[in-house]
Symmetry: C2
Subunit: 220 residues, 2 copies
DNA sequence: ACCTGAACACCGTTCAAGT
DNA sequence: ACCTGAACACCGTTCAAGT
């Protein structure tokens, strides 16, 4: 064990993994992913950028640890609907994942850009597959359901946070879209305009999630 | 009209939007998104980086144009299943989108990071909504179906290309996962291991797409 | 009109040297 | 053991000046 702060020898460290991670998450919320640089983080911790590399080998490692931490407690959502069947549990898990990503600025982008193998995501994955197996789904369908729900949730939340950051009112920007569509081309988009520019991302997410659940029900 | 190369005055330009865009796409395929810098692109075009800004106001604008170009012809996929019903057409459109993103290195990342309002994506969106409306779906469900299918497709392909770039054999890396899972925790992941480490991303995509189609069928 | 040269204000990362 | 200082090899973007 030659990892940092292993014994009481030497100066007490001004840095540690946990505090660095927390400061990084705070900085993410304040400034967004593009402004989350090793130098800005170092400044927030009152050290030089080089010092951070004692605790995270690369910035990618830091981002992975951030993604892992975002998923803290998400798997517990399966236990919430006590008497719930598989569909209620799976719905609760997907909602909890979206909520966790939405809870931090650029949360979906951070998650999509990393590949954690920590206990929070593995625990989440195990829980989802477990719910499906307990419901009688074969192992391969249970595994595929995990990916489908997770990929949809990430894809949706990526779009949702991007639209929020762009300042769009809803899934599509009303101003831009209305002008283009009014020209006469895209008649179907014109018909869908109220929904396309609606602000209700939650309803959009629930729609897609419901499709997946119904599709799984049909397969069972 | 004071845009570049408007009249025959002055030196013939060594640069233009179309050639720059094509070179950028070629460079993307050769080097990947992280190595696609304005300086590297300029070098490939034998100019200095500053010259590119006469044709694209920002790098983000260039990436948006790249994403738009990737979607070229994707909407045509709806016409392919000639006698097909809405479900076959929607399936064809989703497959065509995934194929288009897979066709270029980091295609999904480029697409997810931009927000084109060009005729290729608007045409794609209009076509998808049109297929759903023609099938009798109400306008709001048609619009939501578009987002659900698109967000799932982007989310899936993002994961697929990330796994390919990581060199994983399948959706999850066998080596890493097998070790962690063998420890005894995550019993459900252990059961799903064959599928989780399977190399068949196409099958995974088709599974999710089928769930969405079946969910839509149930709603209609 | 189109491009160069040079700068501005940054990046992630490394590593000898200090304490 | 832990951090600084300084460097390396880059970024995106701007803009006066050349041709």
């Amino acid at each position: 064990m030659s990892s940092p702060s292993s014994t009481g020898r030497g100066r007490p460290p001004r840095l540690d993994r946990a505090r660095t991670l927390q400061t990084a998450l705070d900085l993410l919320d304040r400034s967004g992913l593009d402004a989350l640089t090793m130098r800005q983080l170092a400044e927030a911790m009152e050290v030089r950028a080089g010092a951070l590399y004692r605790y995270f080998a690369t910035k990618q490692d830091l981002l992975t640890a951030m993604a892992e931490r975002m998923m803290d407690g998400v798997a517990d959502a399966a236990a919430e609907p006590c008497g719930g069947d598989w569909s209620e549990r799976l719905t609760a898990l997907a909602r909890a994942m979206r909520t966790a990503l939405l809870a931090r600025r650029d949360g979906a982008r951070v998650f999509a850009g990393t590949h954690s193998t920590g206990e929070n995501i593995l625990g989440f994955a195990d829980t989802v597959v477990g719910v499906m197996r307990a419901a009688g789904f074969p192992d391969d369908d249970a595994a595929r359901a995990l990916y489908t729900v997770a990929n949809f949730t990430v894809g949706h939340t990526l779009e949702e946070q991007a639209a929020l950051q762009r300042g769009d009112a809803g899934p599509a920007d009303p101003g831009v879209l209305a002008d283009t569509v009014a020209a006469g081309k895209y008649p179907h988009l014109q018909a869908g305009l109220p929904t396309l520019t609606s602000t209700d991302f939650t309803r959009l997410f629930e729609f897609g999630l419901d499709l997946l659940i119904e599709g799984l029900r049909a397969r069972r």
